[in-house]
């Protein structure tokens, strides 16, 4: 069990981080579909900076900044110019994917051995890490893990428990109503998209910084798209996302475990399990899988059609 948790936690970190970033902007109505690209860019930037500066924290922070920049472009294009969110998002996805590869190639170039960085070190929380079963996997972790835990709780607190969160959520539910009460719709959308996109990039940076120590093209391998699925699965709510991410990561690890143990089933079918299971869960998820009413639609104060 402890081993299982240890294996699950890293992928949980990735999924949670990226999905929290996604729902953050989603709750204000910005439907971000750039994840696959922004995570790749985050991985590339995170690695390149960590390698050149010799600082993993630097890599994470700059990755955040670059992701935030993509978020800024997305939000300017959609809130100021009111271009379609989905189309702009896809365009940015292409651009970010291209930029990720270009950056690595320009800075690192062709090398015989891929340059490698030291991955994040684990920190131990005294006492707690001695708890049987969960102590080792949950309390001996790198700081990104602890950050994600705090972030998730913080987001929950902010969205569900504070007045600011009440105002914040209303932007995605009925922007016109929010606007008419003096809530700055564009501001909320802008900052949530910038921060959210930054978080997505950090999730990408976690790949070289935690898993591999190197950057490779295509290392996100479609997980960015899964993040979008996860946001829906989690009903765009922080704590549900935490659970959903655990489900995704858990199924992933279980699939591998099944192969290692050897079930006599072709391994491809075992690898399908997480996706099939998610689809099955979604069949029953309509109870909680509600999405913000104005997810994906732009707000134009003076338009009579919108809202």
């Amino acid at each position: 069990m402890s081993e299982f948790l240890t294996l699950v936690v890293p992928m949980w970190v990735v999924f949670t981080l990226a999905a929290q970033g996604t729902i953050l902007s989603g709750r204000t109505g910005v439907f971000n579909v750039t994840q696959e690209g922004v995570m790749a860019l985050g991985a590339s930037v995170g690695f390149v900076v960590a390698y050149k500066m010799g600082s993993n924290l630097g890599g994470l922070l700059i990755a955040f900044a670059v992701g935030a920049l993509v978020g800024l472009v997305l939000t300017v294009m959609t809130t100021q110019l009111r271009l379609d969110q989905f189309v702009v998002g896809l365009a940015l996805f292409f651009a970010a994917t291209g930029a990720a590869g270009l950056l690595y190639r320009e800075v690192i170039g062709v090398t015989m051995t891929p340059p490698k960085i030291d991955t994040l070190t684990k920190h131990e929380i005294p006492l707690l890490s001695d708890i049987p079963v969960i102590g080792e996997p949950l309390f001996r972790q790198d700081y990104v893990f602890f950050f994600v835990v705090l972030l998730s709780v913080g987001l929950y607190w902010f969205m569900q428990r504070t007045g600011a969160g009440l105002n914040f959520r209303s932007v995605g539910e009925n922007p016109k109503a929010a606007d008419s009460l003096g809530i700055n719709v564009n501001l909320a959308r802008t900052w949530s998209t910038i921060v959210g996109s930054g978080l997505v990039a950090v999730a990408g940076a976690y790949f070289p910084l935690h898993f591999t120590g190197i950057y490779t093209d295509g290392m996100i391998a479609g997980r960015g798209w899964l993040v979008i699925a996860l946001a829906f699965l989690g009903g765009w709510r922080p704590l549900y996302v935490v659970a959903g991410a655990a489900f995704f990561a858990g199924m992933d690890v279980l699939g591998q475990k099944a192969q290692v143990i050897g079930l006599g089933v072709p391994h491809q079918f075992i690898e399908m399990l997480p996706y099939v299971a998610t689809l099955l869960v979604m069949v029953f998820a309509f109870r909680w899988a509600r999405q913000p009413a104005h997810l994906g639609s732009n707000y134009d104060r003076e338009s009579r059609l919108a809202g």
């Binding site: 439907f31 294009m77 110019l81 271009l83 379609d84 969110q85 989905f86 189309v87 702009v88 896809l90 365009a91 940015l92 996805f93 292409f94 651009a95 994917t97 291209g98 930029a99 590869g101 270009l102 190639r105 320009e106 479609g222 798209w225 899964l226 979008i228 699925a229 829906f232 699965l233 072709p266 491809q268 079918f269 690898e271 399908m272 996706y275 099939v276 998610t278 689809l279 979604m282 069949v283 998820a285 309509f286 899988a289 999405q291 009413a293 104005h294 997810l295 994906g296 639609s297 732009n298």
Partner: protein
């Protein structure tokens, strides 16, 4: 954002994301066409300008690179054949995206549908490899269409019956399909010598006839050309095509006026899946001669780009797809002659798309000022 009771609301508002192609202001068809084409031309020019600057800044020759991108499709028979062979899956995957989009649904699953179509086609082509072409070829193309449609049908059922968001289901089904075809290519009909997950070759009767001397153009291109006309007419002039656009515009108003909206939304996905499945089957019959892993290439993304650029016009779509096929083929040459990384083309495509969006704003300003 309007929603139908039967189906969950889709992100990206009720309607297709982009405004429909601009109408000529009653000032004749010529200006109408000009208004439609102009933004595309301007966007492409701007994208190349910005892309060229980037290439130059990275220390390559922008002139060589862009020349390669633009001319390589046209300066040899081979280039044209390759471009058209790429055009087929791009245009079909664009339909796979654009047809469901007409009803307001986002099909992100063309990859999986294409792979299943290829598998279905290959299954027939391998199992009945001795049949003559008159029987085998149509059978395998039909099998491809059905397999793709069936795969999209899963998402359609999940959507219509269980209200599972189609973005989510089609994305997930892509991942499932990768595993499924890997199994088919390595365990069901594996080709031991292929060095790659690939099925054994399909029978000779399952190969599309080639036109002209080698490298020949496969006749699937003509088939798709005919299909393009059929779809353009169908969407504009048939009641079902009209209903699809109506549902995309306002599902509730359509429902109230007798359109079976959720069934239609499901049908849109299934038809789109069929188109992608056909792309797979044609690729097997015309190009690869077998189903192999990776044959979906980046057609999903290209199909989405094209589908979005077409802004609901099934007439414009094949032309845009051709433009993108030229870019994609040119990208390889660009790498060859100017050593510019292929990623550059992704960036240029993104730029075209963004400039195209921005052209809407410019046009609206112009219209407002007029």
């Amino acid at each position: 954002m309007s929603t139908v009771e039967q189906t969950p609301p889709t992100p990206g508002s009720g309607g297709p994301p982009s405004a429909p192609a601009p109408r000529g202001h009653g000032s004749g068809a010529v200006t109408g066409v000009a208004w439609t084409v102009l933004p595309y031309v301007a966007s492409v020019v701007l994208a190349f300008l910005v892309g060229g600057l980037l290439i130059q800044a990275m220390g390559y020759s922008a002139v060589d690179a862009l020349e390669a991108v633009l001319t390589s499709s046209f300066d040899s028979r081979f280039g044209m054949v390759e471009t058209l062979h790429k055009w087929v899956p791009i245009v079909l995957c664009a339909y796979a995206f654009a047809i469901p989009l007409a009803t307001g649904k986002f099909n992100i699953g063309a990859e999986g549908q294409l792979l299943l179509g290829a598998t279905g086609g290959a299954a027939i082509g391998i199992t009945f490899s001795d049949l003559p072409a008159v029987l085998l070829l149509p059978a395998m193309l039909v099998a491809g269409v059905l397999a793709g449609a069936l795969w999209a049908g899963i998402a359609a059922v999940l959507l219509v019956r269980f209200r599972v968001n189609e973005v989510l289901s089609t994305v997930l089904l892509n991942f499932v399909s990768f595993r499924l075809i890997d199994w088919v290519a390595t365990s069901v009909w594996p080709d031991a010598g292929a060095g790659h997950p690939a099925t054994t070759p399909v029978g000779d009767g399952a190969r599309l006839p080639l036109i002209g001397e080698a490298p020949g153009l496969h006749s699937g291109v003509l088939l798709v050309l005919a299909l393009a006309v059929f779809i353009a007419v169908g969407m504009r002039f048939t009641p079902t095509g009209f209903e699809m656009r109506a549902v995309g515009d306002n599902p509730r108003a359509s429902l109230i006026n007798g359109v079976k909206t959720s069934r239609l939304a499901g049908a849109g996905l299934v038809i789109g899946g069929g188109a992608a499945g056909l792309a797979g089957a044609i690729d097997v019959a015309g190009v690869q001669g077998r189903m192999l892993e990776g044959m979906q290439s980046n057609f999903l993304i290209l199909g989405i780009i094209v589908g979005l650029m077409a802004r609901g016009s099934m007439l414009a779509l094949p032309f845009i797809a051709f433009g993108i096929a030229v870019l994609e083929f040119g990208a390889g040459t660009m790498q060859l002659v100017a050593s510019v990384p292929v990623e550059m083309v992704l960036v240029i495509e993104a730029l075209i798309l963004l400039f195209l969006l921005l052209s809407d704003i410019v046009r609206n300003r112009l219209r407002g000022a007029a």
